[in-house]
């Protein structure tokens, strides 16, 4: 927890408390009640007192409008051989940010496409080299892996810093205050299991006849990783959610390790359940279908047919597990993370229901398949609306009391890396 900063006062910045009496800046439903300057931040509070504002988040974007933006920009990306990508991305983020209203005021995105293009090219080169290296030899793959693991935490930090520094609300920029050292402590443990496996593969002289210790190493590494996964996620999220900052406020994540183990165990249960249900349903379907086909073919099945059915069963089960179980994990993780993020002055509350997310996810999957992918922009808007609108902000401070703090810009290369490796802020 950072020490509270003095509210600057000067000719431009009036002492905010004087303006905080009733001026709600035209925001409906908001009545400011803060009458004093900021009390010192003194740890976490549940804010069950009466001195608070509840700020709703609304998402006003529309699927049909985003579809128009998406298709025009996709065409431009294709025509320019990919170089338009940063401009398209900036337009997408401006649309999504601009339609995210926190207490009636939109977020803004300020990224510069030209800077992002440089980062994009750099990261594309890096990703290309990485994906090619493994094709040649395990040793080249290991070297590439080590290089990526070593720079990845720095890119991760730069990515968060860039994204937040280029996001604004009511004219003020967000910040990410995590240190580079913290990023390495948060992320390097995640690479240890893969590093052990890659090193093991590189150490085996004959890939086809691995020694006995190889299997033992693989199994124990995977088992240990599964056991430690909640700890690794917790370690990462502590870093990520502990360093978001806006004006004089900085967040921390007040969730214990136990909550992450409970979440992961429950999710595992749902995964297994979904897998069993999906497996039974799909096998029954495939068996019925296969039985009919075998009869058509004269009562004899062959190897190809078995393979196709095996493929259908595996693919269908994976698909159903993803569609059924992922929404559970996603919704519970969002609620856990964001409901425990905040500080003594402000906190978030996330009430994303599994049932709602499941419904939207299943509908998205169905329509994605039916429309051959053209539904993607609609799906994206529907998900953003559901996930954003289930979050609200509870604050002891009226927005008028918030003043800007110095910040660094972050590197656009980090943001591009986030695209390539699939990183997200989680909202």
């Amino acid at each position: 927890m950072s020490t509270p900063r003095e509210v600057p006062s000067g000719p431009e910045a009036d002492p905010p408390a004087q303006h905080a009496s009733i001026d709600s800046a035209g925001v409906t439903g908001v009545v400011s009640t803060l009458g004093t300057t900021l009390p010192p931040s003194s740890g976490y509070s549940t804010l069950n007192g009466t001195l608070h504002e509840r700020m709703a988040i609304r998402f006003t974007g529309s699927g049909s409008e985003y579809f128009r933006i998406w298709i025009v920009n996709l065409l431009l990306i294709l025509v320019t051989g990919g170089f338009y990508f940063p401009w398209a991305k900036v337009r997408r983020l401006r649309y999504f940010h601009g339609n995210t209203l926190v207490a009636g005021q939109p977020l803004g995105f300020h990224g510069d496409p030209k800077k992002m293009l440089r980062g994009f090219l750099l990261v594309a080169l890096l990703g290309g080299l990485y994906s090619v290296a493994g094709q040649f030899s395990p040793v080249a793959g290991l070297v590439a892996f080590v290089i990526v693991a070593l720079i990845w935490p720095a890119l991760f930090k730069a990515s968060l810093q860039f994204r937040l520094a280029n996001t604004s609300w009511r004219g003020l920029r967000f910040r990410f205050n995590g240190s580079v050292g913290g990023a390495y402590r948060a992320l390097l443990p995640l690479f240890v299991p893969s590093a052990v496996i890659v090193a093991g593969v590189a150490a085996v002289p004959d890939q086809l006849h691995p020694p006995h210790w190889f299997d033992a190493l693989m199994f124990s590494t995977m088992g240990l990783t599964a056991l430690l996964l909640p700890l690794l996620i917790w370690n990462l999220k502590k870093y990520q959610h502990g360093h978001y900052a806006f004006a004089q406020l900085q967040t921390e994540l007040r969730a214990g390790l136990g909550a992450f183990y409970a979440l992961c165990l429950k999710s595992l249960g749902v995964f297994v359940l979904a897998g069993v249900i999906a497996g039974v349903v799909i096998t029954a379907l495939a068996y019925g279908l296969g039985h009919n086909l075998v009869e058509v073919a004269g009562g004899r099945a062959n190897r190809t047919a078995m393979m196709v059915f095996g493929f259908v069963i595996i693919f269908g089960t994976l698909l159903m597990v993803q569609a059924l179980a992922m929404p559970y994990f996603t919704s519970r993780l969002q609620n856990l993370l964001w409901s425990r993020t905040g500080n003594s002055q402000l906190r978030f509350k996330s009430q994303l229901r599994f049932r709602s997310l499941l419904r939207v996810t299943l509908l998205n999957w169905l329509l994605m398949v039916v429309t051959l992918g053209l539904y993607w922009p609609f799906a994206r808007v529907a998900l953003a609306r559901l996930r954003l609108e289930s979050v609200s902000v509870v604050s002891r401070i009226t927005p008028d009391a918030l003043v800007a703090q110095a910040s660094q810009g972050g590197d656009a290369a980090g943001d591009a890396a986030a695209d390539l490796f699939g990183l997200d802020i989680g909202l």
Binding site: L78, R170, G171, A297, A305, V308
Partner: protein, 351 residues
């Protein structure tokens, strides 16, 4: 522009230092934007304003270079003001806001994807592969060969004399077909470890070609057929199909993830699978053409390959397929046998 003709608009203003909102009036005067009211009086060059794009949903926010921002909840009011102040939409915004343009974009996008798939990517992969040295093929082929030798095949049981006879027949045909020199290749006789491989022949990047005993047995050692089959495999080597497919699949993956984003890697894999199968069938056709060229040069009627397909079909008839044909065509890596038999038969007639 004089003050009377330039319209004014009431908006919210944030100074970038505090989150407090000010009610101000803005208007454009010449090359400057004037902001006034609630104790604020500013004049900003128009070029230093990041103007919002017109959208149907969401408020309008103009960002000033020093961190200030102008917020208009009444988007229609802002758009009317911006238009009256001489600010037009960019072409991209016009296209995004018109369903007619969007329809054209969908059409153009589909055509571009189709053209890229049919001509662009095959051409680009040829160009990329031409830039890569042969050692790349050999390196990849070496890794593939290790896994094939270990998992799929074992030493051939064919008599050495028969192996040598087939090898000589094939090399003679190669020398006649490409007197200027054929690509580096190495023919291996191998036997399948189990029944999964069956009568088969395949080529690895870098020139390693494997012929199974099962295939030689199936065609009863028919030299003409085996030369034709090996000519087909040499075609794969000559066109560097292995490396080209690697390039094509990578490019397909990039495009498919650019279009579908991070929706689902499982779904994004479907166009990849289908697109790859399409390219694989094209590669087979190219290799068949090489086979015909080789057989003609060696004085063998391409009709021989028809015998091969008939034998394979007869073998397959003993274990009838239970897969509906529509399912097979979409994911098959080879064109239908009928099409390929027709091709070789016509090649024989043309001679």
């Amino acid at each position: 522009m004089n003050a009377a003709s330039s319209p004014e608009l009431d908006v919210g203003y944030f100074d970038g230092r505090s989150a407090r909102s000010h009610r101000v009036r803005i208007r454009v005067s010449g090359e400057r934007l004037l902001v006034a009211g609630d104790g604020i009086a500013r004049s900003v060059p128009l070029a230093e304003v990041q103007w919002p794009e017109r959208t149907r949903h969401g408020p309008r926010v103009a960002h000033l270079q020093d961190g200030g921002a102008l917020h208009a909840d009444d988007s229609a009011g802002w758009d009317a003001w911006a238009a009256a102040s001489g600010r037009g939409d960019t072409l991209v915004v016009k296209a995004q806001q018109s369903w007619r343009w969007v329809g054209a974009a969908v059409l153009a996008f589909a055509l571009l994807l189709a053209a890229g798939y049919l001509w662009g990517l095959p051409w680009a992969s040829r160009a990329v592969v031409a830039l890569l040295p042969q050692t790349v093929d050999q390196k990849i082929g070496e890794i593939a060969r290790q896994s094939v030798e270990g998992e799929l095949v074992q030493a051939s049981a064919l008599p050495l004399a028969q192996q040598e006879r087939l090898r000589v027949a094939f090399e003679r045909a190669v020398a006649q077909a490409w007197p200027g020199g054929a690509p580096r290749h190495e023919l291996l006789f191998r036997r399948g470890k189990d029944k999964s491989l069956g009568p088969n022949a395949f080529a690895l990047p870098g020139g390693t070609m494997v012929l199974t005993d099962e295939l030689v047995t199936l065609v009863e050692g028919d030299e003409a057929v085996i030369v034709g089959v090996l000519g087909h495999e040499l075609g794969h080597v000559r066109h560097r199909h292995g490396l080209r497919q690697l390039v094509q699949v990578t490019a397909l993956g990039v495009v498919s993830s650019a279009v579908l984003g991070d929706f689902s890697s499982l779904l994004a894999g479907v166009p990849l699978l289908l697109g790859h199968a399409g390219y694989a069938r094209d590669a087979e056709r190219e290799a068949d053409a090489d086979s015909v060229h080789l057989m003609r040069a060696a004085g063998i009627a391409p009709e021989a390959m028809v015998r091969f397909f008939e034998k394979v079909a007869a073998e397959r008839a003993r274990q009838p397929a239970a897969v509906p044909s529509w399912l097979g065509i979409a994911i098959a890596s080879h064109p239908a046998d009928e099409e390929r038999m027709r091709y070789f038969r016509e090649a024989s007639v043309q001679r």
